[in-house]
């Protein structure tokens, strides 16, 4: 979303600070809030871990009966699992799917919320009432339970399908926020000015209104990612999704079901994915709080 | 004997970029019963000064030096040395402040009578009946019907009525000084007129001294006996109302007078002041009005000019070029600046 907003802004203007300058500017603002900066570093670290590291580290997929539940050592810094496979290696390879699913779920839910929130606010009347009613119903359903039911029925096999299901559950909160924002923004003087300059609906929505909602959208996006990760962890831990592939949540499932709880030496096998999930989530939350400053132009100068 | 003497008062605001020198070395006397108007652009320090006088400044403000001496003949003290309890008493009993009659000046969920009662109690009027009698008397004085107003909630009153209520409330403990912050802004013309007339009438009856802060020169022309012009935190001119309107000697006062058109009389040569006020964190060397001043010479950059006596002993201006300003305005007749410069 950040990238999208910036490119939209860039196109129409003759001269703007180059991309390097904006990145510098961005980091400068972020550095004012240490928590945000730590969050940013954490998120970058995990993205690197999930998407780049697998190319650098060979996959260790071999069952090694000799070293089942091995203690941490130089060779296996976090020990091994119930089949003697390296835990660190699994963490490196287990981030991609879960993070991709989370990003897709957040993206879909944000798109749904923006589209229908803006439609409801702009058109008003019956359509608004209908969208709001659906939103209210969706908000009142206990989400995790519904998720479990849906996952059990549909048994999503691709992370894409899983992301769609997760997104369907997450849009209502942001939709209400977007609707309220658009309602207030459309009465604002600068939106009225854009209307009388005949700049078109697309300009008004994408360049006048959406940039003023950037903070809501980006922060919601991040929060939606964290929720999607928890939801994935929950349903995979319950074994509701076909358990193939490598994934932090699947690691947890196996660790639990293979009795890792009862082996003292498997402490790191259990804690590894838990810590990966927790630290990634914390980084996301801190990044979100740091971003609030970035989106406030008053604080930017 | 002045009821309030302010000496070398300086107030800073702390900000991330450094201290903002909002009020600098302000010295003036407020005589018993007189009305003193403080004028200047936003950012000139007039509001900081007004709230500073009763120490209502926001937490980021700090008095760096000076003295605010109150003396009503019976009691005398430095306002800056009061403890919290005595300060609270001073604030209503000796010196009351009337804010703009916005709804936010009231507690929205209690009636006007309860607002009066709360104010009375907070300032030591324990006897409910006494507060009641005093309140009815004051509402009569501001030409409101107590039977109707006391039971009303703030939102049920018009802007003009709310302003009257605020004035009555300020008078509850019979203070010797009233500070008015933009008392008629946001009111309609006819209501504004009624409030001005009311203030004049109350001043005559009760004899309190008034300081009022306004960006609206016409209110000053209506009510003031003497005036202070503030620029960049300093008093740059001090004069009687006639002297300031017809014979200003500081170029900034001249600029302000010229910036306001009138409805009656000739329009004259009306003009805005070019440029904008200086950065109060990094004040330039010399006169802070230098960059905007049409009369400036190199000498103005040497030091921030002190208040100099001009024309009469009651008239001071912080400008080394005041004689040139006087010459530019020509006659001393009672005609507004815009006409003289036309």
């Amino acid at each position: 979303m950040t990238a999208a907003a910036t490119t939209v802004d860039r196109r129409d203007v003759t001269r703007l600070p180059g991309p390097v300058a904006s990145i510098f500017e961005f980091l400068r603002t972020m550095s004012r809030k240490p928590v945000g900066l730590i969050g940013l570093i954490g998120v970058v670290f995990f993205l690197f871990l999930a998407y780049v590291a697998p190319f650098l580290v060979p996959l260790q997929d071999q069952v090694d009966v000799a070293s089942i539940y091995a203690k941490p050592s130089f060779l296996h810094p976090l020990g091994t699992d119930f089949q003697g496979r390296d835990v660190v290696n699994q963490i490196v390879y287990g981030g991609g799917d879960i993070i991709t699913t989370a990003i897709l779920a957040a993206l879909f839910s944000t798109l749904i919320a923006i589209t229908f929130g803006s439609i409801a606010a702009t058109l008003g009347g019956r359509i608004d009432a209908l969208i709001l009613a659906i939103t209210d119903v969706a908000l009142t359903i206990p989400q995790l339970i519904l998720l479990i039911v849906i996952a059990a029925i549909f048994r999503p096999t691709s992370f894409f399908a899983l992301a769609v299901i997760l997104a369907l559950l997450q849009w209502p909160a942001l939709l209400r926020q977007i609707r309220a924002q658009v309602l207030s923004l459309k009465e604002r003087d600068f939106v009225e000015a854009a209307r009388s300059l005949d700049l078109g609906l697309m300009h008004i929505i994408f360049r006048e209104m959406l940039p003023n909602m950037r903070s809501y959208i980006v922060i919601h996006f991040i929060i939606a990612m964290t929720l999607a990760i928890y939801a994935q962890a929950a349903i995979m831990f319950l074994g509701l999704v076909p358990l193939s592939g490598r994934n932090w949540a699947i690691m947890l499932y196996f660790a639990y079901n293979q009795g890792a709880l009862f082996f003292k030496d498997s402490f790191f096998y259990l804690m590894g994915p838990i810590m990966a999930i927790a630290l990634f989530q914390l980084s996301l939350v801190w990044l979100a709080s740091g971003l609030e400053d970035v989106f406030n132009p008053r604080l930017r100068s | 004997m002045p009821v309030l003497s302010v000496r070398d008062l300086s107030i800073d605001y702390r900000t991330r970029r450094g201290p903002v020198h909002a009020v600098r070395d302000v010295t003036f006397d407020l005589e018993q019963g007189e009305t003193l108007a403080v004028i200047g652009e936003s950012g000139s320090g007039k509001t900081t000064l007004a709230v500073g006088l009763i120490r209502l400044s926001p937490r980021s403000a700090r008095v760096t030096k000076g003295e605010i001496r109150y003396d009503d003949g019976k009691r005398a003290f430095d306002v800056l040395s009061l403890d919290t309890e005595r300060l609270r008493r001073f604030r209503w009993a000796d010196c009351a402040m009337v804010f703009q009659a916005a709804l936010s000046a009231f507690n929205p969920v209690i009636t006007i009578w309860e607002q009066f009662l709360d104010t009375g109690r907070a300032h030591g009027m324990g006897d409910k009946h006494k507060v009641h009698d005093r309140t009815r008397e004051l509402l009569d004085l501001v030409h409101l019907d107590p039977n109707r107003v006391l039971r009303a909630y703030p939102h049920e009153l018009s802007g003009g009525m709310r302003q009257r209520v605020l004035i009555a409330m300020a008078l509850l403990l019979d203070p010797r000084i009233i500070i008015l912050d933009e008392p008629t802004t946001a009111l309609d013309i006819l209501t504004q007129r009624a409030i001005i007339d009311l203030l004049r009438e109350l001043r005559g009856k009760l004899g309190f001294a008034t300081i009022f802060i306004s960006h609206d020169l016409s209110i000053a022309a209506e009510l003031a006996d003497r005036m202070l012009t503030m620029y960049a935190g300093r008093i740059v001119e001090r004069a009687t109302v006639e002297d300031l309107f017809y014979r200003p000697r500081h170029p900034y006062s001249v600029g302000l007078m010229r910036a306001v058109p009138r409805v009656s009389g000739a329009l004259g040569s009306v003009a805005s002041i070019p440029g904008s006020p200086p950065d109060l964190i990094r004040l330039p060397r010399g006169c802070s009005y230098y960059p905007r001043c049409p009369f400036h010479v190199d000498e103005c950059l040497q030091q921030d000019p002190p208040l100099l006596r001009v024309d009469t002993p009651d008239h001071e201006a912080a400008c080394i070029r005041w004689e040139t300003v006087a010459a530019a305005l020509g006659s001393d007749a009672e005609a507004p600046v815009a006409e003289k410069l036309a």
Partner: protein, 336 residues
């Protein structure tokens, strides 16, 4: 220019509130020629802003017509309507709300230039520079990359005016455009708007509560005084301020505090009968001003609604007594 450029023809605007129906503007007609300046003056709730918004085509009248170059605007569709929209631009009151806080000045000015003038890249930059120069923001290049929060209130108003100028408007409606900027710079903003009228033949409508501002700005034009949704007087600026024809304008001018201690303290007042303005929900019958009016005559003013009629000297007034006596109210009330 033969006929009027833009015209409100007996427009009214009603609002439905939980407390009842409000007639914010009632039967107002105004007709403006090319490069004319006119001020609409009145106190809060008089309908001046609603009138301005109807004039700008931003609000549809409940009844009556808005005519632009003789054609009914609300009959227009598609491209015609868009062309009208661009021809009339509004400058808002609040310099802190009228510019998008997330967009630089360049980003604010570029889209209308790109869309309507096909100016991109260098051409757009040159156009922006010349617009900023035109509105007195110099050096212009310094402003292009600034965000609104980096500018003062007066500078933002200038950017708003520059933005309006990107589409070569024929009419500019400035709604209290100077009331929120510092007194010391109001005149220069008014001068800027005034020069647009003379140099670019833009018709300028200034909506204000401040008669002194109206007098200065409209010194070569006309003033319309509104009270409770109606135009009560319409006249050349100088004759209106020196010799008001309607008792309400007379009272207003007599009451207004002036920046001149002698004048303001010795003004002759017009004693009004009541201080409170009637509620729009419950307007008095006949002339809406009659309950407060010192000239009102029972059986006439409280029964018949006065309509604008002509007095000598090219002024129109909606007052039974002034029209009958063929004299402005200021004379009748002895405050000349």
């Amino acid at each position: 220019m033969s006929g009027p450029l833009i015209e409100l023809d007996r427009v009214s605007r009603t609002y439905t509130t939980p407390a009842g129906t409000i007639k914010a503007v009632d039967d107002v007609s105004l007709s403006l020629g090319e490069s004319e300046t006119i001020c609409i003056v009145g106190e809060s709730g008089c309908g001046k802003t609603t009138t301005g918004r109807m004039l700008a085509g931003l609000l549809r009248p409940s009844s009556g017509r808005l005519l632009f170059e003789g054609a009914d605007v609300w009959e227009k569709k598609g491209k015609d309507l868009a062309r009208f929209r661009r021809a009339v631009q509004l400058v808002h009151q609040d310099p802190y709300a009228s510019l998008n806080p997330t967009r630089t000045i360049a980003q604010t000015l570029a889209p209308p230039l790109a869309k309507h003038k096909k100016a991109h890249g260098r051409a757009a930059r040159a156009a922006m520079i010349s617009l900023l120069e035109r509105v007195g923001l110099t050096p212009p290049a310094d402003f292009l990359l600034k965000y609104p929060h980096q500018l003062s209130g007066g500078q933002r108003q200038r950017v708003s005016i520059a933005r309006a100028l990107t589409v070569d408007p024929r009419v500019i409606v400035a709604d209290e455009a100077v009331s929120m900027v510092d007194v010391s710079i109001r005149i220069s903003l008014l001068d800027l708007l005034h020069n647009l009228a003379t140099e670019f033949h833009v018709t300028t409508v200034l909506i204000t509560h401040d008669l002194a501002v109206a007098r200065y700005f409209g010194r070569k034009g006309r003033i319309a005084v509104m009270y409770l949704g109606r135009v009560v007087e319409l006249a050349d600026t100088e004759s209106l301020v020196s010799d008001p024809a309607h008792p309400y304008s007379t009272a207003l001018i007599a009451a207004i505090p002036e920046a001149d201690p002698t004048i303001t303290r010795t003004k002759k007042r017009v004693p009004l009968k009541g201080a409170e303005v009637p509620s729009l929900l419950n307007l008095p019958p006949g002339c809406v001003f009659h309950p407060r009016c010192p000239l009102s005559e029972p059986g006439l003013c409280d029964v018949v609604v006065p309509i604008l009629g002509n007095l000598p000297g090219g002024r129109s007034v909606a007052c039974h007594v002034a029209l009958r006596e063929r004299q402005p109210a200021a004379e009748l009330l002895g405050v000349r």
